[in-house]
Amino acid sequence: MTSRKPKVLVVEDEILVGVMLARKLESFGYTVGEVIINGEEAVEVAGRERPDVILMDIALSGNLNGLEAARKIRDFYGIPIVIFTGYDTEKLSREVKDIEPVAVVSKLDNIEEVLRAIKKAVGA
């Protein structure tokens, strides 16, 4: 454990799902800000707040989808990203190689899977 709580940015189209994730992460000792629901905002917040890890949904409202937003954030700021998706994870993993995500996690997986990925991202 570091002296500082790791900061996680949750980008999730379904606000209820996002909030649930945020609470879960907070209960496990992470700092989670406001849940972001669109790609542009995600890129902006990521630039401003510089979280330690970003939990990024693929299907987003707005002009940028999750993958594009992730690619920008990765290019601009080099923040590790965990892809959080409702789609076929194995197929998606192949498509997002250039983003070099820490993990690709299914939304239907247990929360433990998400936590394991976040932990790996922050290097704890």
Partner: protein
């Protein structure tokens, strides 16, 4: 005719075969050829002589005839001249008497012979005397009779005796008369009506006798003449027929012309005399006589010869007989007659021969010395030569007799010659014939012949030679007979062989006939079959064609008419590539070449081009074959334009359907996605709710509920990520459920998952209950089978069992269920309702629990693919 032919043939045969006949015929011909020309020649000479004699005789007769005719003509002319001279003499006598009276007029006036009282005629106004007076007297010189005239009248009574004497002496004279210059007319005639006519002469105002002939003959010229003068022939007013007047002048003592005195004679007597043929004496062969005046006018000419002499003559137009004087021989229609007339008028005497209408006529003339009239006689030459013809006939008879005599003589000569020839030949030929008969007998096979030798000449020698030859032949015959025996045997042998060969030949012929019959049947069958093929092909709806050397050599009616809308004739011989649209030609050409190389090409569709420019899709089935060492392509073509269009339409519809299907798939995927998302939201809400709960049991309930929903959501996720939106793989699904449960619920122990699943796909209707059941059983196992950190394995098996059932086995090797708990009977939500209820009610399956070394659940249900819930 056949008989005649037969006779001729027979004769020819005899001639060919009989030397005697030949010789006889030849010699007879020689005799006939010698005798006949001599006879003919002598007859001809005789006939020639007769002709010559006749000719000479004829010339002689012609000459004599002409001389005789000339004499006749001369005599006749002279005779008629004499007749006129006699009258002229009387006229001269009258003239001298009247001249004497005027020379002594006072004397004669003082002694008149009778009283001649004149009175004025009430009819004519002239002075006339009584008709009973001897001489009819008329005065027309003045209205009153002057003294000198009275004296003249009295003096002229002295003329009366002479007037009467003239009449008495010349019976043919019609009247004697006198006309004075003072206007006195005296007319003496025996005929009462002439007297009357004379007394009724017209008044001087109408006609003055002094102005006409015969007065004018003398008054016309100043020259004094005392000769008698003749008037021209004229037609008198009172007398019918031609008249002629001989007049003499009257002079008084002072020499002054006082009048004329004359004699009227009719020409009738002369004309009748000329025209009446004299059938006696020398003149009987005269044809006719004629008389012309000095100018050629016709005075006498028989009318029946007018036509012959070309004289145009219209008797109906003649009002007076003098009109006849208008006929001139010189105006004849016949040129010969005109020429003749010209020469007659020139010469005193003429002898002419004229040919008219094919016959010769002698025309001989002589002029009357004073009147210069022409008297002519005409005779027909043939009449003249009658005597000559008679002579000719006699001569012909004589010649005929001579001819008969010479012919008889000739025939006799020929006959005797023939008999002599016949006998001679017979004598020569008989030995030869005998020899010939003998030869014929020898030829017939009789060798016992002997020919008698009667003479020593050539036939005799020949007979002797013949006899010796017959003897030799007899010897030869004997030898021949021996040889014949052998020959007959040989012939019999050969005949047998030939018979055998013939039988063989007959057999062969029979076989050949059978073969021919068989071939005929085959040929007929072939013909019928060919006909059937042809009919089939012709009636085929498909177009049938044959290509040889890239040329159409055959097409059927469907090909030409139905497919290409043209006639067969326009297509035969065409390059098939012309019938294909340009874009397809390369392909078709390649195909034809490939087929000819024997490559089999499946039927294909191409776009064809009709001669009229329209197009259609044709399906081509064809095959290459070899006919008489020639590669040909035989094929059919069917119009598939309709099919092609339907196909295209179907393709379009299919594409649309596919598109619609894809849209639906996308939609379905989206629905599954949303459903899963919604379920995820539910899970998130339950999780948020759970975080606020304090009681462990409640939190577990929430946790389990979340797990159940997740297992349902997993179905939707599987469906939208899978290829097939209806079905998911049962093994993969169970794996996901199990792993998810293990990762969330197992904290302090190690539980392995052993999945043994056959590839079984299930639909959503079965996936959800199967998922919920598996979720419940695995959850139970995790919760109860491995207490206090006990390790173990959960085995999930999915397989097909018999009877089309699926068999799901979920087993743990944990502590097992307590014996007293009937897990399926519990009314708890988890086991009782979910597991038992879903399996029995929804899957129509069976569940069985095994409690041996852990707990094993056996769930069996019908394979949903075979048992689809409706």
């Amino acid at each position: 005719m056949p008989f005649a032919l037969g006779t001729t043939d027979c004769m020819t045969k005899i001639l060919k075969e009989n030397l005697g006949a030949k010789l006889f015929l030849m010699l007879t011909a020689v005799v006939i050829l010698a005798v006949v020309p001599i006879t003919w020649s002598s007859l001809h000479t005789l006939s020639d002589y007769g002709d010559r004699a006749l000719e000479i005789h004829s010339d002689h007769i012609t000459h004599q005839t002409l001389s005789s005719l000339q004499i006749i003509a001369r005599e006749k002319a002279s005779h008629y001249q004499n007749h006129f001279d006699r009258i002229a003499a009387s006229a001269a006598m009258l003239g001298s008497q009247a001249t004497a009276i005027y020379n002594d007029l006072n004397l004669y006036a003082g002694t008149p012979l009778y009283h001649n009282d004149l009175f004025r005629s009430s009819l004519t106004g002239n002075y006339i005397n009584d008709l009973k007076a001897p001489v009819t007297t008329v005065y027309w010189g003045d209205s009153q009779i002057s003294q000198p005239v009275r004296e003249e009248l009295r003096a002229l009574t002295h003329m009366t005796p002479l007037f009467r004497r003239v009449l008495t002496e010349n019976p043919e004279v019609l009247a004697s008369h006198s006309i004075t210059t003072s206007g006195i007319g005296l007319y003496c005639t025996e005929r009462e009506h002439y007297k009357k006519a004379a007394s009724e002469i017209p008044p001087s105002s109408v006609f003055d006798l002094r102005d006409g002939e015969p007065m004018t003959i003398f008054t016309a010229s100043e020259e004094r003449t005392e000769n008698v003068r003749w008037t021209n022939v004229y037609k008198d007013d009172v007398v019918d027929g031609f008249m002629l007047t001989a007049s003499a002048p009257i002079y008084d003592d002072t020499g002054q012309f006082r009048g004329i005195t004359g004699i009227d004679i009719p020409l009738t007597d002369v004309v009748d005399d000329i025209l009446t043929p004299d059938n006696d004496g020398d003149e009987k062969w005269l044809l006719f006589s004629f008389l012309l005046d000095s100018d050629g006018r016709v005075i006498a000419f028989p009318e029946k010869y007018f036509a012959l002499f070309g004289i145009e003559h219209f008797p109906s137009k003649y009002r007076y007989s003098s009109d006849r004087l208008t006929l001139l021989l010189g105006q004849s229609q016949s040129g010969k007659v005109r020429n003749l007339t010209t020469s007659l008028l020139e010469e005193k005497e003429q002898q002419r021969i004229v040919t008219l209408e094919g016959e010769n006529y002698y025309v001989v003339t002589s002029r009357m010395p004073k009147h210069q009239w022409i008297f002519g006689v005409v005779a027909r030459q043939s009449d003249m030569l009658e005597t000559v013809t008679a002579g000719r006939d006699e001569l012909d008879q004589t010649i005929g007799k001579l001819a008969i005599r010479s012919v008889v003589f000739s025939l006799a000569t020929i006959g005797i010659s023939i008999v002599i020839i016949f006998l001679l030949i017979k004598h020569l030929i008989t030995p030869l014939r005998r020899l010939s008969l003998a030869t014929q007998q020898v030829t017939a096979g009789n060798l016992d012949v002997h020919c008698p030798v009667t003479t020593n000449d050539e036939p005799g020698t020949l007979a002797a030679s013949f006899n010796s030859m017959v003897i030799e032949l007899r010897a030869a015959q004997k030898q021949q007979q021996t040889y014949f025996g052998y020959l007959e045997e040989e012939v019999a042998k050969r005949s047998e062989e030939v018979l055998l060969q013939k039988r063989e030949l007959e057999k062969t012929v029979t076989r050949l006939e059978d073969e021919i019959e068989r071939r005929q049947i085959v040929s007929e069958a072939l013909h019928l079959s060919r006909q059937k093929y042809r009919d089939t092909i012709e009636s085929s709806l498909a177009g049938v064609y044959i290509v040889e050397d890239f040329k159409l050599s055959y097409v059927n009616s469907s090909f030409a008419e139905k497919l290409f809308h043209t006639s067969k004739m326009t297509l035969i011989g065409k390059n098939p590539l012309e019938l294909v649209i340009p874009e397809e030609r390369g392909k078709v050409e390649a195909n034809i070449k490939l087929r000819q190389q024997g490559v089999n090409i499946p039927p294909y569709v191409l776009e064809c081009l009709r001669p009229d420019g329209t197009r259609f899709f044709g399906e081509v089935w064809s095959k290459a074959t070899t006919w008489k060492d020639k590669k040909v392509v035989v094929g059919t073509i069917t119009d598939v334009t309709g099919l092609r269009q339907k196909e295209l339409k179907l393709q379009e519809q299919g594409e649309e359907l596919q598109k619609s299907l894809q849209e639906k798939e996308v939609l379905l995927r989206e629905i599954h996605h949303r459903t899963k998302n919604n379920m995820l939201i539910i899970i998130s809400m339950l999780e948020l709710q759970r975080m606020e709960l304090d009681g462990e049991q409640q939190r577990t309930i929430f946790q389990e509920m979340e797990n159940r929903i997740r297992s349902m959501a997993l179905v939707h996720e599987k469906l939208y990520t899978a290829q097939n939106l209806n079905r998911i793989d049962m093994g993969s699904y169970l794996n996901d459920i199990a792993r998810s449960l293990l990762s969330s619920m197992v904290i302090d122990s190690t539980i392995d998952l052993d999945l043994r699943a056959e590839p079984i796909s299930i639909d959503i209707d079965h996936a959800v209950p199967i998922g919920l059941v598996a979720n419940e059983i695995i959850t139970n196992a995790i919760k109860h089978a491995f207490p206090k950190g006990r390790s173990g394995t959960i085995t999930v098996t999915a397989k097909r069992s018999d009877n089309n059932h699926l068999h799901l086995i979920i087993a743990d090797n944990g502590i097992g269920l307590p014996e007293d708990i009937d897990i399926l009977a519990t009314s708890s939500f988890g086991t009782g309702i979910i597991i038992a209820g879903l399996v029995k009610m929804q899957l129509k399956g069976e569940i069985e629990v095994e409690r041996d070394r852990g707990t094993t659940y056996h769930i069996r249900f019908l394979d949903p693919i075979l048992h689809k819930r409706l």
